[in-house]
């Protein structure tokens, strides 16, 4: 006989029947059922197959502690793999399939594997598959391993909301202890948040089925709930605390139903009260994995919550008085009950379809065997927070010991099993008072497994680990708890050993002749139960995943038809029409570039000059107000970190225009050095980049455009590498004469609010000179024609300034500066250092190609373009001793192909710089 639905009882709504399928067959259940309870009510026994041996398995527990009933579930075209049948609420139309079984759990083709179990003890795969090699076997093993199947489909709208919140007291677990504690604390004026992972509050009170402080469980629970809410407390059901993190931060996952992503709550709690209860502990005996063998608590849950009796002819094997209390409840449901004392010797389940149990020399007929080997307090959160555990001999369990800061435990989670004791304890602890001593401890003697028997006794149901495996591990000296776990895989399955760890410890302790605390305990890690990866997703999705910085002129660029791309963290125009055409236009006439991302870092203060002299390779202190200097910032290792121009505004003010992709890094580096060895009141760093727009007008016709713009600058006396103030209408602005293109170039910097009107005016004037807007790609081509480097592209993790031809400060600068000593190391002095060169070739060289001698790499091609100005390919490269090799033939190597090239100076166009002043 199997499970059946009782005529009355349970928290289900019998007026709402639901239809579903399991392994292709149709069944009915009720609103409030889980998949497991509905199947059990339909008399389904075999709900899955074990991981390794594919043995038929029934459901063992009623909540997250069940190791066996795991399904892939589909509803309305959405499929979730690896759903626990015991925690998946039944919804009309659900289709469930047992994982790791084909074609069904009841008739699994791989069930035949169990006959060969002797060949597959723990760790057998370490002893074999060695020859010829692992790859021959891996594919087959991988297909047999794994449980659920991922369908690769995205579920629309599957997004986790995330919230932060705080409370004075977070009560984890809404059973008797949790409800009492939450009410007491809320009524004392604390800001209380109570969470409970079931849809309904009450915990173990339903299955206990006795009055609570004179009321029925339902009435008592309702009264506590009302009182908590009336006192301003909050309650979240369907919510699991999955981890405790630093400084009393607790992560909660709030369920929103099937195929809807749970919400993440990050709760900062002044105190955390763990009233998480205790799990039923299995008993280790022969054939204890048979369908029909269930935990006693689980069976009582099915009865109380779902109105399902697990079987008709029930034997109860236990070591504690909860069994005696359970007997009348089961009998009331119409079951025949026989109690067996588990301390009186080993048991053995008889029959593939359970029909009896042998115990103490007797054979007792039964169709269902409910076991209770004691309780295991749920202490995971305690351990997440670094709390210690003590061994309690009376109840043979690990209980919370020395508390982590701001954490406490009460009730069954604290090893206090009697309800009255638990309620008193919870109320005291809620207010941070000492708990009264327990008046009614519930003794639970430690059950020793029969390690001499030759039978198969399961320790970890989910990973098919048996007592023989533990023996084997002990025999082979994998005796530490961590070795035991990893060698046998005990406790490493999705249930993370919730019902297996204690059995494994007890077995190993016995084999080693030690006590359990001497044997040890394993580490518990978050999450407490598996949670979807989506829970951690946050707002980082799509355009909000590392969102790009946006230009004030973006809409102008879009209107002009620009192709936009990601450059240095910004969305910038790559080109407007055609890159080559833009280069030619800018070289022959004039181009307008949006250079807004160029960094504008202000360094101010009486020590600013001294500071910059220290942070820069070049001498900055001698820079006069109104002038601009190109320079390098080095790392302490002497490596070029950034290049850029420094403009001096006045004796106490400099503006650094560093490469646009590096602004944050340069600011951080400057700030870091500012705080190291300087008087911090005499130099300050402000990153003002976001306040300004910068537009560059470049080309032989740049001056006529500037004339027409009439910004109030002295164009005739405007020397290269200087700056002046000016204005556009009423807006003050700065104009700098710097050139990244090699042509006459003016960089206009003005408040970003004026960017659009300025652009409109400037563009008209530029177009009047046969010019137009140019994008980043055109500029990259032009700067390469001049041999101007891009940091990180034409330099690498070894490039020092003298490799780029800038060697004077290294030889002559007296003031101390960052990287100085490293510039004189053995490596810095090597004659074969990689130096910047140009390359000429017939065909376009691939960037990333290497320069070789034989098969040895002596350099890399760092930039390579077809030059529209010169009409031939040009390239920049870093080459060993390159500065001394101009004119040499060289071999370029790319993906096994050799290409001839010639080494040149890096500048291909106008080496004298005449074009700067066209």
């Amino acid at each position: 006989m199997t499970g059946f639905r009782t005529p009355q009882g349970g928290l289900i709504d019998r007026s709402k029947p639901l239809e579903f399928t399991f392994d292709g067959r149709s069944y009915s259940g009720f609103q409030g059922d889980t998949l497991a309870s509905a199947l059990l009510a339909n008399g389904v026994r075999i709900m899955g197959r074990s991981f390794k041996y594919h043995r038929p398995r029934g459901v063992w527990g009623a909540w997250f502690d069940d190791p066996n009933a795991i399904f892939d579930v589909t509803l309305n075209g959405r499929t979730l793999p690896n759903c626990a049948a015991t925690t998946t609420a039944l919804i009309d139309g659900m289709q469930a399939r047992a994982v790791n079984a084909f074609p069904t759990a009841k008739h699994d083709l791989k069930g035949v594997l169990d006959r060969f179990h002797a060949l597959m003890p723990a760790g057998f795969y370490y002893k074999t598959f060695i020859w010829p090699n692992w790859h021959l076997f891996e594919g087959m093993i991988r297909k047999m391993a794994g449980l659920g199947r991922l369908d690769g489909e995205l579920i629309a709208g599957y997004q986790s909301a995330q919230h932060h919140d705080r409370c004075d007291l977070l009560v984890v677990g809404g059973g008797g202890a949790g409800l009492a504690a939450a009410r007491h604390a809320a009524e004392a004026g604390q800001n209380v948040l109570l969470i409970e992972d079931h849809p309904a509050l009450g915990g173990g009170l339903f299955r206990r089925a006795l009055p609570v402080e004179g009321q029925s469980p339902a009435d008592w629970i309702a009264a506590q709930q009302a009182a908590i809410l009336a006192a301003g407390g909050r309650i979240l059901t369907g919510t699991t605390a999955f981890g405790v993190f630093d400084h009393n931060m607790v992560g909660l996952a709030q369920d929103h139903g099937f195929a809807k992503a749970p919400s993440l709550w990050r709760i900062r709690a002044r105190r955390i009260l763990m009233t998480t209860g205790a799990l039923e502990r299995p008993v280790t005996f022969a054939n204890n994995d048979r369908p029909g063998v269930m935990g006693l608590d689980g069976a009582l849950e099915y009865l109380a919550r779902y109105g399902v009796a697990a079987g008709r002819d029930i034997a109860v094997l236990s070591n504690n008085t909860f069994a005696t209390a359970a007997q009348p409840l089961l009998e009331q449901a119409g079951c025949k009950v026989t109690l067996l004392d588990a301390t009186r010797g080993p048991a053995k389940a008889i029959g593939k379809t359970l029909r009896a149990v042998d115990h103490n020399g007797q054979r007792i007929a039964c169709d269902t065997l409910l076991v209770s080997g004691g309780r295991t307090p749920v202490v995971h959160l305690w351990r997440h927070a670094g709390g210690k555990l003590d061994w309690n001999n009376t109840i043979s369990a690990f209980v919370p010991g020395h508390a982590p800061d701001g954490m406490a435990a009460a009730g069954a989670a604290n090893g206090t099993y009697d309800l009255d004791d638990a309620l008193s304890e919870a109320r005291a602890v809620a207010l941070n008072h000492a708990a009264p001593p327990a008046r009614k401890p519930v003794p639970m003697p430690l059950l020793q497994p029969d390690t001499n028997s030759n039978t198969r006794q399961w320790i970890d149901l989910q990973h098919d680990v048996t007592l023989k495996d533990i023996k084997l591990a002990a025999q082979e000296n994998y005796v530490s708890v961590e070795h035991l776990k990893r060698y046998t895989t005990l406790g490493m399955a999705p249930d993370q050993g919730k019902t297996a760890n204690m059995a494994g410890l007890a077995a190993m302790a016995q084999l080693q002749g030690q006590s359990i605390p001497e044997t040890g305990t394993t580490t518990f890690r978050p999450p407490f139960v598996p949670v979807p990866l989506e829970l951690y997703h946050g707002a980082r999705r799509g355009q909000l995943f590392n969102p790009l910085k946006r230009l004030p002129l973006e809409n102008r660029h879009r209107a002009a038809g620009a192709a936009l791309g990601e450059y240095g963290g910004w969305l910038r125009p790559a080109w407007y029409s055609d890159i080559d055409a833009e280069v030619r236009m800018a070289r022959n006439h004039v181009g307008l570039l949006d250079a807004t991302p160029l960094g504008k870092i202000e360094v101010m203060g009486p020590d600013a000059a001294k500071f910059l002299d220290f942070v820069y390779y070049n001498t900055i202190a001698t820079l006069k107000p109104g002038h601009i200097r190109y320079g390098f910032m080095l790392t302490e290792g002497g490596i070029v970190f950034d290049d850029g121009v420094v403009a001096r505004m006045d004796p106490n003010r400099f503006v650094i225009s560093c490469s646009s992709s590096h602004v944050a890094g340069v600011t951080a580096l400057l700030e870091s050095w500012r705080q190291d060895g300087n008087d911090p009141d005499r130099v300050f760093i402000h990153d003002t980049t976001a306040n300004w727009a910068t537009l560059t007008i470049t080309g032989p016709q740049a001056k006529p455009v500037m004339q027409a713009l009439d910004l109030g600058v002295d164009l005739a006396g405007f020397a290269h590498m200087t700056w002046q103030t000016g204005h556009f209408h009423d807006t003050p602005l700065r104009v700098a004469r710097v050139s990244f293109t090699g042509d006459t170039s003016f960089e206009i910097t003005l408040p970003s609010a004026q960017a659009e009107p300025f652009w409109d005016t400037a563009l008209q004037l530029v177009q009047a000179e046969n010019g137009g807007p140019i994008g980043i790609e055109a500029v990259s081509h032009m700067r390469a024609e001049k041999g101007f480097i891009i940091i990180g592209k034409d330099t690498d993790g070894e490039t020092m300034p003298h490799d780029l031809g800038f060697s004077i400060p290294r030889r002559k600068k007296r003031a101390a500066f960052v990287g100085d000593r490293s510039l004189h190391s053995e490596t810095a002095n090597r004659p074969d250092r990689r130096q910047l060169v140009g390359l000429r070739s017939d065909t376009l060289l691939p960037t990333g190609a290497h320069l070789v001698t034989g098969k040895r790499s002596i350099g890399t091609v760092t930039s390579s373009y077809h030059s529209p100005t010169l009409n031939h390919p040009i390239a920049l490269a870093l080459l060993e001793n390159g500065a001394n090799r101009h004119g040499e033939a060289i071999t370029v190597w790319h993906m096994d192909r050799e290409i001839p090239a010639t080494v040149t100076a890096p500048c291909f166009l106008d080496p004298k710089g005449d074009r700067l002043d066209a």
């Binding site: 598959f129 579920i155 931060m249 961590e482 990893r486 598996p530 690498d796 098969k855």
Partner: protein, 415 residues
């Protein structure tokens, strides 16, 4: 007592009662030729190669906890040699070659799966950097391919090929000989093989100080007493600074937490290892079915290797961007290890300022792939007192010489 399918069959008949311990639990002797501090992968491999390649007779490995219980048991199990500099290529590819034969050599299945490893490429500039790396690898004699988008899709269809991908996949740098192995098996395999060679592996033995006589390290003080040694080698990863302190010198290493994650077990989802430089996240699938996920360092110190949510969110949101179909997969467990990072992200192998004490550390996030090479080279150093050619560039003196091997910078990821 050799392992083999035949032996498995034979032992099956007598209930597996005949299997011998994988290693002994000996008491420490008063003196050894060489004492290795640290019973992780590197320490155990060193002991093995000392006995096997150099015929050293009296060797002890001292482990303060249980062997293999440190970073060797906590990593994400990837093995690769796709490095830029010839020195690194020589080092890590030596390791790959040793891994290729390791199961047979140790007579222990370490499950080295050469399923390949892909660094995804997300834009044209990144393709240029990729070409630079692929060329470097090929010139260094290491297998490397530049894959286009279709080739990546064929190998790993679960990745994000959607139009709205934040980081579209242009292609990938693929090393076919790279892959994964079972981390515990590597430790246990080396332990068992070393034990068979007569190495004493002493667990639960903490080194509390160094025995220094006339400025020379002559052994160690431990929780199980004093042990003298001809030479002492430290392979203690995140505890290297503590060891250096005992020896009166400093090492240029910083310790950080590195988090790792595993999902619930699934039928095969991905057959290779995929890494996205854009998100900093990488993942593969263990032979048991769980997705193994890793990411960037956690630079904020935390109590007890717990790791905190901001890094978890960074790594896992990166994973979902790489493969959106994984959003509904459940996370099973996450943990952290302590990794020791040097200024150039390359390891430290060599003598220390204290004569008689040698060090193997600074592997940062990449120690597991290097276990065989680290052991092989450290054994050479301890046995002969001199560097093997492959380990010479990684000596502590490279910092003063300016001869850094900066693979972090070489990877081309913008700083």
């Amino acid at each position: 007592m050799a392992y083999s399918a035949f032996a498995l069959l034979r032992h099956a008949f007598n209930g597996h009662n005949g299997w011998k311990p994988a290693w002994r639990s000996p008491k420490p002797q008063a003196e050894y030729d060489i004492v290795i501090i640290g019973g992780g992968g590197h320490g155990l491999a060193t002991a093995y190669y000392l006995a096997k390649n150099h015929g050293v007779r009296r060797i002890a490995v001292l482990e303060k906890g249980w062997l293999g219980g440190g970073n060797t048991g906590r990593n994400t199990t990837t093995i690769r040699s796709n490095y830029f500099y010839p020195e690194s290529a020589a080092l890590y590819d030596l390791s790959v070659r040793l891994y290729e034969n390791l199961s047979r050599e140790l007579n222990y299945n370490v499950m080295f799966s050469q399923r390949g490893l892909m660094f995804l490429v997300h834009s044209e500039p990144e393709m240029e950097i990729a070409a630079r790396t692929v060329n470097a690898m090929r010139l260094n004699g290491v297998d490397a391919e530049l894959l286009d988008r279709d080739a990546v899709r064929k190998r790993a269809p679960v990745l994000n090929f959607r139009d709205d991908a934040r980081y579209p996949i242009h292609g990938g740098v693929f090393q076919g000989r790279a892959g994964t192995a079972r981390h515990d098996a590597v430790a246990w395999g080396y332990a068992r093989a070393a034990d068979r060679q007569g190495v004493d592996i002493i667990q639960n033995c903490e080194v509390t100080g160094l025995l220094i006589e006339n400025g020379i390290c002559k052994g160690v003080e431990t929780s199980k007493g004093r042990i003298r040694a001809g030479r002492v080698g430290g392979a203690v990863a995140g505890h290297s600074s503590v060891l250096a302190g005992m020896g009166g010198f400093q090492l240029p290493i910083q310790s950080y937490a590195l988090q790792a994650f595993v999902s619930e077990p699934l039928k095969p989802v991905i057959d290779t290892v995929a890494f996205s430089p854009a998100t900093g996240t990488y993942f593969c699938q263990s032979d048991k079915g769980g997705l193994v996920i890793g990411g960037a360092l956690d630079r904020v110190p935390s109590y007890g290797q717990r790791g905190n949510m901001p890094v978890q969110e960074q790594v896992l949101s990166g994973l979902i961007e790489m493969a959106p179909a994984l959003a509904k997969v459940k996370l099973l467990r996450h943990w952290a290890g302590n990794v020791d990072v040097t200024p150039d992200s390359s390891p430290l192998i060599g003598p220390t300022p204290l004569e008689g004490l040698f060090i193997n550390c600074g592997w940062g996030t990449g120690g597991f792939k290097a276990i065989p090479a680290g052991g092989y080279l450290f054994a050479h150093l301890l046995a002969t007192g001199n560097h093997h050619a492959i380990s010479r560039p990684f000596d502590l003196d490279r910092f003063a010489r300016g001869a850094l091997i900066d693979e972090g910078a070489a990877s081309g990821i913008a700083h």
